[in-house]
């Protein structure tokens, strides 16, 4: 068996089917998208090659940069919320009462589809019958905010369900990472008289570093390309106040019939995500890997 597995031809043969599939459904479309971006195309009929026109237009398109700014804000918010997730995970991994139940509670949003979450929060944000405004009205606020109709509020009103939606996912990752740290290390620290705070910051955090790096990449790249909840809840409105890069791309391609420009936007989104990943890896690079044994 060992001999077979070291045979290069066999390795290639085993890898080939999934590689082909991956190429066909991921990499070829990426290349094609880049190519469509070089054309003027309404999605039907023939394409006209226009070179880099679409990409040049993108650089000066204020609506695109506005949506990019919104995506960046979302990335920032989800980056910050990671701290919250980490704290919760640390508390849950400690020996507290009801940790099991709490873990399940945090995980439930993960089980819902984005559309279901969107519908749920649409009801909560309803300007007259929604939970928030009903509470506000009952304590005597006469003009409660119109969460999704107010251009300066809508973005943050959308961030809250998004952060809520992913809480379970990141808490689970951190929780697993924390459980992976050998109990003996903490015990030794405790014998040396370390406080809970010291254990958390001096032992758990450094040992969790790789996991944290991964979650930072996941959350920031995920935020940059985020689409579904925003599409269902506001469709980028009112008047682009909650437009993000992915929804902008969608609107260009499927609403304005400008598939060339939409593709260019999609390709730009890919580049931005790649650059973001590269930057984060640079910033968070670790020289040493931890090994427990």
């Amino acid at each position: 068996m060992e001999k077979v597995m070291s045979n290069k031809l066999v390795i290639a043969l085993y890898v080939l089917p999934s590689l082909l599939l991956l190429l066909a459904v991921i990499y070829v479309p990426i290349v094609l998208t880049g190519y469509y971006g070089l054309n003027q195309w309404n999605g039907i009929g023939s394409m006209t090659f226009v070179g880099l026109d679409n990409y040049q237009h993108l650089l000066t398109d204020s609506a695109f940069w506005q949506s990019a700014w919104h995506s960046l804000l979302l990335a920032l918010f989800s980056g910050i919320s990671l701290i919250g997730y980490l704290v919760i995970a640390m508390i849950l991994s400690g020996k507290i009462k009801g940790a099991n139940l709490l873990r399940k509670i945090y995980l439930i949003p993960m089980l819902l589809s984005s559309v279901a979450i969107a519908q749920l929060w649409l009801k909560m944000y309803h300007p007259t019958n929604g939970v928030f405004n009903s509470i506000l009205a009952s304590v005597g606020v006469h003009n409660p905010p119109e969460w999704l109709a107010n251009p300066s509020l809508v973005l943050f009103a959308l961030f809250i369900p998004i952060i809520w939606q992913y809480a379970g996912f990141y808490i689970l990752i951190y929780y697993a990472g924390l459980k992976n740290i050998p109990e003996t290390l903490m015990e030794a620290a405790r014998i040396d008289g370390a406080s809970a705070w010291q254990i958390a910051t001096r032992i758990k955090l450094p040992l969790l570093r790789e996991v944290i790096n991964v979650t930072i990449i996941l959350s920031i790249v995920g935020s940059l390309k985020y689409f579904d909840l925003i599409y269902v809840m506001t469709d980028g409105g009112p008047n682009g106040a909650s437009e993000v890069m992915a929804s902008y791309m969608y609107h260009q391609a499927f609403r304005s019939f400008d598939f060339g420009y939409g593709s260019a936007t999609a390709f730009a989104l890919l580049l931005i995500c790649l650059i973001a990943t590269w930057l984060i890896r640079k910033v968070t690079a670790t020289s040493d890997t931890i090994q427990y044994s």
Binding site: L19, G43, I44, T234, G237, N239, F257
Partner: protein, 447 residues
Amino acid sequence: MSNEYGLRKRSHQKWFAGLTLLLSFMLVLSGCGAGKDGQGGSSGDGGKVTLKMMHLWPEGSSAQQSKLVTQIIDQYQKDHPNVVIQQEVLENEQYKNKLKVLSASNELPDIGITWAAGFMEPYVKGGLFTPMDDLLQGSKLKDKFVPGTTEAYALNGKTYALPIELNITPIYYNKAIFQKYNLKVPTTFDEFKQVVKTLTDHGVAPIALGNKDRWTGSLWYMYLADRIAGNETLKKAIDGSGSFDDPGLIQAASEVQTLVDMNAFNKGFNGLSNDEGKSEFMNNKAAMYLMATWELPNFTTNPAIPQAFKDQIGFFKFPMVAGGKGNENSWVGGPGVGLFVSENSKVKEEAKAFVEYFVVKWGEQSVTQAGVIPATKVDTSKEKLPKLYVDLLNGLNQASSITLFADVQMKPNAAQVHLNMIQALFGKAVTPQQFADQHKAAIEKGN
């Protein structure tokens, strides 16, 4: 962990070469795939013909229409045993998206639904719809359509789809609420504003509006533009021969903001969908609702809606504005959706025959069974129809002009600008002048 990388590096270049090769291979393959078009219909064994039909009347949200379609199809299959018709039903927004995706891959269903004018244009220019003029001149359909309806589906002298709906847009109102506050149906815009004021003074939302969908707000702007500047001015501004800079059109935009300032619309309208906005009206919370006659089944035939509610719904024409150029009998509306046959269908003749049959049957039955106004002429004397329906049909007969919905008239890109600007106007994010400027720029761009 770290040593593994060293191992891989050696064959790195070879792999890369292989990858490039594969990539180009796949490109060639996908190129081949696009060459032949996979078409829906097939006239295979035993002379059986399968027709694929895609439409947008899901059982949930358009119960009456959905029932009627199935009924017509069943009857047709009984009369033509060699034909099988497969339905694919999607909700409005999904329908539009799927249509675009299918067009890009040249796989349109044999029969489908389209909207008129600007919406249809890219499809027609792409050679995807087949002309229907022979059906129009045929014995079954000649002179059957209400004048002006098929024209919206014509391009370069050919008609590419047959309309099945005709819509005008009245203001529905809740008689019970009007009675409670001693309100009379307004005939002028000043009276209308007075009604709005009385209702807000009593804490009732005057108008139900869900402007997340944006075309809903567009109706208000269109009517004000029509009443103040006249339908010709609006039409010319939209097709580019006139301008949105017209003082009447700018005044219309500022009247919209006046209504917003008066709290005429329910709270948070810019964040609510049309369905959410509508529910304010359906729950007796808002007094008025401006919507096309496709809502008629909900006020007449839909069994899911209590009769008591249906009985208290009336309608009035959009009021006249003092000094304005428009008159009361000028409507916003136009043909709703129409049926097209795919140019690349392998069973084009059969598909066309079915469309002809469908249009005739729909015209006969949609009135009584679905409560929609068909684009074909209706003989009201024969049928026993709900009063609201007859009144609206009479309104339609007196129509001096019908202005097609702006977002349907405009080309896709300009339509998006228009819709976004509508939301901005209602949200007071732009001034009427900026509203006009953005429209001008979008229409000059010409796509």
